[in-house]
């Protein structure tokens, strides 16, 4: 059905494609991130209510969005692997999971730093932060499960199954945490209100979101190449690759 998917199913071909994409995306990602951060930090007016502490939004929101994004892309890869029996897609699970976990970690501590001036405490059981924390547990589960087996193949299959089960549970967990938050959180503590974004602040935020997307893609390409090499190390093309000095120093 998806004929265009086939060339990417062959590991050696995908290895070369990922290499090319990585050389393009990696510098672009870091550059975009730098521009977005500098713009957001220095060149936008302060928020009338939260002062300059709101600038953390340029990191917190993209990280939170792309932590969910990474999990769903992991689940999509798992689905592709299951339906079209493409082994390479299963290896992508192990590549994406640590990146998603790092994004969740970033979203967590930037969220707590951002909330500190408001709540007075480093951690607040706010609905979004709690959902992020549970998402971190889901990532830890996937990573732990993947490395728990002697045979790499079984580990990948188990992790992809867990990723698919997890993605079904994401909305359920999110909904129940939101509901739980309204139950225990009296109206007294204002949830940290998202500042009304006026256009001058919107641009750096969008750039940072793009930067995180590029970073996710670039790092996935990098880690997927390693996964391909590890899975295909008995193949001749990998062994020839090992003879000559490592090419891409990106």
């Amino acid at each position: 059905m998806f004929k265009w998917l086939d060339p990417y199913a062959k590991p050696q071909r995908l290895y070369a494609v990922c290499g090319a994409w990585q050389r393009v995306l990696m510098p672009m990602a870091w550059l975009t991130l730098l521009i977005g951060v500098v713009w957001g930090l220095g060149f936008t007016p302060a928020d009338y209510q939260q002062g300059d502490s709101y600038r953390i939004i340029h990191i917190h929101v993209p990280a939170a969005i792309w932590s969910m994004g990474a999990y769903s892309s992991m689940a999509i890869a798992a689905f592709i692997a299951l339906v079209w029996q493409i082994k390479v897609a299963q290896w992508a699970i192990g590549a994406i999971a640590p990146i998603g976990a790092c994004f969740t970690l970033i979203a967590l501590f930037t969220g707590s730093f951002w909330g500190k001036p408001m709540w007075g405490t480093w951690w607040e059981w706010d609905a979004r932060l709690t959902s992020e924390l549970i998402l971190l547990f889901l990532y830890v589960g996937v990573i732990a499960l993947q490395n728990a087996f002697a045979d790499r193949e079984t580990g990948d299959k188990a992790a992809s199954l867990l990723a698919m089960v997890g993605v079904v549970n994401l909305p359920i967990i999110h909904f129940s945490v939101e509901w739980w938050n309204t139950l225990h959180q009296g109206a007294s503590i204002t949830k940290f209100a998202k500042p009304s974004i006026d256009p001058s602040m919107l641009w750096p935020l969008l750039i940072c979101m793009l930067a995180f997307a590029l970073l996710l893609a670039a790092l996935t390409c990098l880690r997927l190449r390693t996964a391909i090499l590890q899975h295909e190390q008995h193949r001749s093309w990998v062994r020839d690759l090992a003879e000559e000095p490592t090419d891409a120093k990106v």
Partner: protein, 206 residues
């Protein structure tokens, strides 16, 4: 041609166990897979039994690719691996009843069968109290009940004494006589089966 496999290859934990293995099995054949320890004999048997996927290669049962006739092949297969399949807490009789219920085998006189296998008096003791050889006999008792035509046995003779080995070989002969086929691995010499025996050597790859 009852069963054949072409160009099988298997990779386990990044090590190539074997490549380009071809197997032809017709009614009445006994195929012994020989090779040093670690040569991948058990992995090959598990692939032939449909338990795990080969990295490359195809399996055909009566000319039809295995992926299309899974259930048909499974109905004609009896696989006994290293794991005996005998549940320790249950007695020998309960084990046989469980397998008969699952496979819906025709009822038979279990007491008589266990007696012929030299387990007289041990039928209603939990199997964990039996010796390794006796547990092996309970697991092999299925070969007297199963209608399957292809038997895939991993080291069936381990822990068996001489009388049991002789009894098992004669049962193999009888099975081949009425159109069955057997693939097995063993380090024992098989004098009684020399007529139908063919060997496949798996050499140890680094």
């Amino acid at each position: 041609m009852l069963f054949n496999a072409t160009k099988l290859s298997c990779v386990r934990q990044d090590r190539i166990l074997f490549t380009d293995v071809d197997i032809q099995l017709s009614a009445g054949d006994i195929l012994q897979i020989a090779g040093r320890n670690g040569a991948g004999k058990s992995s090959l048997l598990r692939i032939l039994a449909g338990l795990s996927e080969p990295s490359e290669g195809a399996l055909r049962f009566q000319g039809v690719d295995l992926t299309k006739c899974h259930d048909d092949y499974a109905a004609n297969l009896c696989f006994i691996g290293h794991l005996s399949g005998v549940q320790g807490q249950l007695t020998a009789l309960e084990n046989l009843q469980f397998w008969r219920a699952c496979w819906q085998l025709k009822p038979a006189d279990d007491w008589q069968l266990l007696a012929t296998l030299g387990l007289a008096g041990l039928e209603d003791i939990p199997c964990q109290h039996l010796s390794a050889g006796q547990q092996r006999r309970v697991s092999l008792a299925r070969l007297w009940l199963t209608p399957a035509r292809i038997w895939i046995l991993d080291e069936p003779f381990t822990a068996l004494d001489q009388s049991a080995i002789g009894q098992l070989q004669s049962h193999f002969q009888q099975h081949c006589a009425n159109g069955g086929a057997i693939i097995l691995t063993t380090h024992q010499p098989l004098p009684m089966l020399a007529a139908q025996l063919r060997q496949l050597e798996l050499e140890y790859r680094w």
